[in-house]
Symmetry: C2
Subunit: 359 residues, 2 copies
């Protein structure tokens, strides 16, 4: 795809991403590490480009969800610790060994299998352990850790480098669950120190946890995801057609918007098929030449219509593009209007956009 052929342009400012990472490193201090969570193709932004930029900035700890994401990242981060959060799916053991990836083990079975492989090959295998402190999603329960304590041989061939958990309510600093999870995490780590042959680092906080003021949540390794992209993204789209419409005319599927005065409509080269949430239909707005243009009618798969009646025609004619989100229209606000979160919007972003990486 060339820029001429494309309907929309996603700009990813790699310098800003690297700066965001450096600022977080400065905030948590030299004794701690700031990792980067680059799963889901770096939230749809391109894990290889983002990973390379962060590696060059000095980041040496990465997290992915799947082993194939870790394999792709290894190419741009040759000397980093790459943790795979979903652990060792059956028959992927050799991928971990070949690319020196570290599985985050979440179940007694995964621990036993990984240890068994170490035993069989007579090598100590690197690993992380996921402990569940309240997400009820992945991770060893307190009871499962106790069981492990009764059979410490199950960890004999493991070099557990990191113990990981995940906060459920860190976006709400006053939520009592944060302190509860911290206490459970500390208890779990204390138990594991008595069970495991080697010492390990601790990691509890992702983006929201990094934003908490209480340093106890930072532990040894913080794992920001979306926080890396603050101010680094913008999405602009071509205006394909502008037309004048009459009173009583409707627009889009279902004819959900009726024009009650003579109006002007611009049609944009983006739709829900590109990841623009359909729930923005008749609710959201875009920016054209700095002015708000409300979305009118339902968003189609490839097209979105906006009301540009109040924008000066000359300004309109000189504006080849509309901003979907960016400096003057934060992604978070757009996601909020759509009834979702910026994470979901980002990961749905289309492969159809032409991507511009600033570095």
């Amino acid at each position: 795809m060339t820029p001429e052929q494309a309907g929309a342009f996603l700009t990813v400012d790699l310098n800003k991403i690297a700066n965001n990472w450096r600022k977080m490193q400065a905030k948590v201090g030299d004794k701690r590490q700031v990792a980067a969570v680059l799963k889901t193709d770096a939230y749809g932004l391109g894990a290889e480009r983002v990973g390379r930029a962060l590696y060059e900035a000095g980041c040496r700890v990465f997290f992915t969800a799947y082993v194939f994401e870790g394999i792709a990242l290894r190419e741009v981060a040759p000397e980093a610790d790459i943790y795979v959060l979903h652990g060792v799916l059956p028959h992927t053991e050799l991928d971990f060994l070949k690319y020196n990836l570290i599985p985050v083990l979440s179940t007694p079975r995964q621990v036993a299998d990984w240890n068994h492989l170490g035993h069989k090959e007579d090598i100590v295998l690197p690993a992380a352990l996921h402990v569940d402190t309240g997400m009820t999603r992945l991770g060893l329960t307190a009871g499962q850790i106790d069981s492990l304590g009764k059979n410490p041989d199950q960890c004999k061939y493991l070099n557990v480098k990191l113990v990981v958990s995940h906060l459920a309510c860190a976006d709400d600093p006053d939520n009592g669950m944060n302190a509860e999870q911290l206490e459970k995490f500390e208890t779990a780590c204390a138990k594991l120190r008595r069970i495991l042959p080697d010492d390990f680092k601790e990691s509890l906080s992702a983006t929201d946890g990094c934003r908490l003021d209480d340093e106890r949540f930072y532990r040894d390794v913080v794992r920001p995801g979306i926080a890396l992209y603050d101010g680094a993204l913008s999405l602009e789209v071509k205006i394909l057609q502008i037309q004048d419409v009459q009173v009583g005319q409707t627009v889009g599927y279902g004819a959900t918007h009726i024009f009650t005065k003579k109006s002007r409509v611009a049609t944009l080269g983006i739709g829900y098929g590109d990841g623009l949430p359909r729930s923005l239909s008749n609710k959201g707005y875009v920016l054209i030449a700095g002015h708000q243009a409300p979305i009118v009618g339902r968003i189609s798969m490839d097209l979105t219509t906006v009301d540009v009646t109040d924008i000066d025609v000359k300004e309109l004619q000189q504006a080849p593009m509309a901003e979907i989100f960016g400096e003057d229209l934060p992604l978070k606000d757009v996601a909020n209007i759509a009834g979702t979160i910026d994470y979901e919007m980002l990961t749905n972003l289309s492969k159809r956009f032409f991507r511009i990486y600033l570095d």
Copy 2:
């Protein structure tokens, strides 16, 4: 990505897709053509695979949104008419000529520019015209067609093969707008027959229009999109972890679901980062061993938790996968629970799935 490395499997039954196409061809009759709308990478299913299957079934008319989608399709559909709905974006003219793609022209400016190119090169260029009959999205207005009539030289170097419009409310057969649009379309085509040097075919109906009983909506070419995939798709996901939970325990971000009895939770390798709508949180369900397992807690980026308390443990242990949608749980129903439409769900589907094409 290997099947072992993947979290989820999207199965695309190419035979069923080809059969759906054949059934539609039988329905509309030999005198009409059934095209295939393969924009947005065939709604996220892989335009090259789907396109090849339909081409082999006999489909000779395709629609894409962008020229780069047409270029990709040309490889698998060497002898087909490929129409590009977004028309000629500036500086993409040579792409159309090189790959023999037909632009659907939507504005007087696009018509003039395409005609001008024909004049300059002294060749007659194939084209389609988009006329707006009520979508207020893309297409020439009645007034613009009248203007064209006053300067028929503007079409002298065009071979308009097809005139296209699009119904706004065809999902509602009783909606009066269908008849209104049909009338406007017939009027526009009659006018254009007086203006254009060559005769042309007509196309008004996409999937919903094809489902209308009134043959007048079929015209010469129907353009099904999602109707091609009826019964042809299924999505299954690996179960990563099963854990017992206590009364009072919560699950997921924001701790939005509290267990009021001893329960069992399965964690699935899919999340909104894979295109599973986050709006299914605490609302949707999946099928495991044929039983419904309700989604509990918020859907995360890479993980979804479901309540499997009522499923027999043995059945659970023998079921490696959960069905997100498929034969027993139609995509349309899942989209409905999510508050969206099957089109949006399909186009958001992740590149992270391992795709299985049945042919």
